[in-house]
Each structure stands twice: as structure tokens, then as C-alpha cells.
């Protein structure tokens, strides 16, 4: 068994096409890992009593990819046994129930991959320059993550 053939990799993609859970999980599966954990963020159909028609995402793409890469680096420092990390985020229109983000992490044992996935989504929400517009029936709203490190929630 030569584990040096299976070099740890980060798979980061921002794209407007529909995301695939199969595709993202296959990226991280490794014969040396007994665990792969997954987070899927999907579009909810309501907010504060208003019906959500769909979400629209935009990104500062070059910086977003760099910030996600930094998050992957942090993950590998905190959980050195983590093998592969995949973060796919959708841009443009995302209809209700479809996925806007899928994060997958593999590790030899389950604790690390579960913790790393949670860290990834929490940190992404705090630091990656991506914006979401919620489209309602007769208005829209630019959302603000409470994790955003510079915005004051009043």
C-alpha cells in the first residue's frame, strides 16, 4: 500500500450549473479513508413569512477561490489527517430545494471529517466574498450572514 499515490487535494469550484452530490463526494472518496462527510446548503422556500421564489448568487470569483483555498489550508492544520476537501458553490439563479453549496471532506476516521465540514461552512459564511439575493414575489433582499466579521447586525 503506497499512500503517497493519494496526495491530499483541494477541489474548489464556483459554477452556474446545477451542483451534484455524486460528483462532489466522488472527488473526496479515497481508499485510505474510512469516512467522507458532506454538507449541502439548499434554497429554503420562505423567509420571515415571505415566499422565496429563488436565490441569486454573485461572487468576487478570484478572491472567493483564494479565501476558500485558505480555509482548506486551515482545515489541514487543525485536522492533519484530513485527506481530500471539495467545496462547490453555485453562482447565478438557484431555485428552491436546489443546492447552493456542497462541501465534502474525507479522513481515515469520522470525527475529523465531520468537524472539518462544519468548520468549512461556518468559515465560508464569515469570510468568502459571495453574495446572495433572496427574490420574493414582489421584492428582493440582499442577505447578510451573521458570521460576516465586519457587518453590525442591529
Amino acid at each position: 500500500m503506497d499512500e503517497s499515490e493519494d496526495v491530499p487535494k483541494d477541489f474548489i469550484k464556483l459554477k452556474s450549473e446545477k451542483l451534484s452530490v455524486d460528483e462532489v463526494s466522488e472527488l473526496v472518496i479515497s481508499p485510505y479513508c474510512g469516512a467522507a462527510s458532506l454538507f449541502i446548503g439548499t434554497t429554503r422556500n420562505h423567509f420571515e413569512g415571505k415566499k422565496v421564489i429563488h436565490l441569486e448568487y454573485e461572487a468576487y470569483t478570484s478572491m472567493a477561490e483564494m479565501e476558500i483555498k485558505k480555509i482548506c489550508g486551515d482545515v489541514r492544520q487543525k485536522w492533519p489527517s484530513v485527506k481530500h476537501i471539495a467545496v462547490h458553490h453555485r453562482l447565478g439563479v438557484v431555485p428552491v430545494t436546489e443546492a447552493s453549496v456542497i462541501i465534502a471532506v474525507s479522513s481515515p476516521h469520522r470525527a475529523e471529517s465531520l468537524e472539518a465540514v462544519m468548520y468549512c461552512i461556518n468559515t465560508l459564511k464569515a469570510s468568502v466574498p459571495i453574495w446572495k439575493k433572496e427574490i420574493y414575489e414582489d421584492e428582493y433582499s440582499w442577505k447578510e450572514n451573521k458570521e460576516c466579521f465586519w457587518a453590525n447586525s442591529e
Binding site: 478570484s62 453574495w131 446572495k132
Partner: protein, 83 residues
């Protein structure tokens, strides 16, 4: 001369996504904001919510002195909502 990028609400208020602006090579981040608001006064309403990204590093609006090179990218970053 720097490239200024506008995103999300700031792009709606400014009416554009990208432009070139002439600014002094050394300027505080707050002064840079004020230069931009001169060109796009409607941006003033979001002043307390935005930060900059200068050469893809976050910078708060304040006294921090920026040393800008021609062609540098400066982005207006409203509160983020990824994920």
C-alpha cells in the same frame, strides 16, 4: 490608476460593476472611500456596512494607509452572504 470593482448592493447603487479611478498612490482607506463616494454619491448609505478588498485582502474603512500601484484591484465588499 486603480480598478474599482463593485459587487451586490454597491453595484446596484453605483450603477456599474467596474471602472478605473485615479487616486493618490498613498491614501488612507477612509479617504479612498470618500473619493469613490464623490463619483457615486448614492454609495454613502452603505458606508457603515462595507469593507474594501485591496489586492484581494480585506481592509476596513479607517486610518490604514494603503500603498497603491497602477492597475491594483480595489473591490467594494458589502456584507457577505455565501453558503
Amino acid at each position: 490608476q486603480v480598478s474599482v470593482l463593485y459587487f451586490a448592493r454597491s453595484a446596484e447603487l453605483a450603477g456599474l460593476r467596474c471602472e478605473t479611478l485615479s487616486v493618490p498612490r498613498q491614501i488612507t482607506s477612509l479617504q479612498l472611500w470618500e473619493e469613490i463616494v464623490k463619483v457615486h454619491p448614492r454609495l454613502a448609505v452603505i458606508r457603515d456596512q462595507v469593507v474594501f478588498a485591496v489586492r484581494q485582502e480585506y481592509v476596513l474603512l479607517g486610518d490604514q494607509v494603503l500603498v497603491l500601484q497602477p492597475g491594483d484591484e480595489v473591490a467594494i465588499i458589502p456584507p457577505i452572504s455565501g453558503g
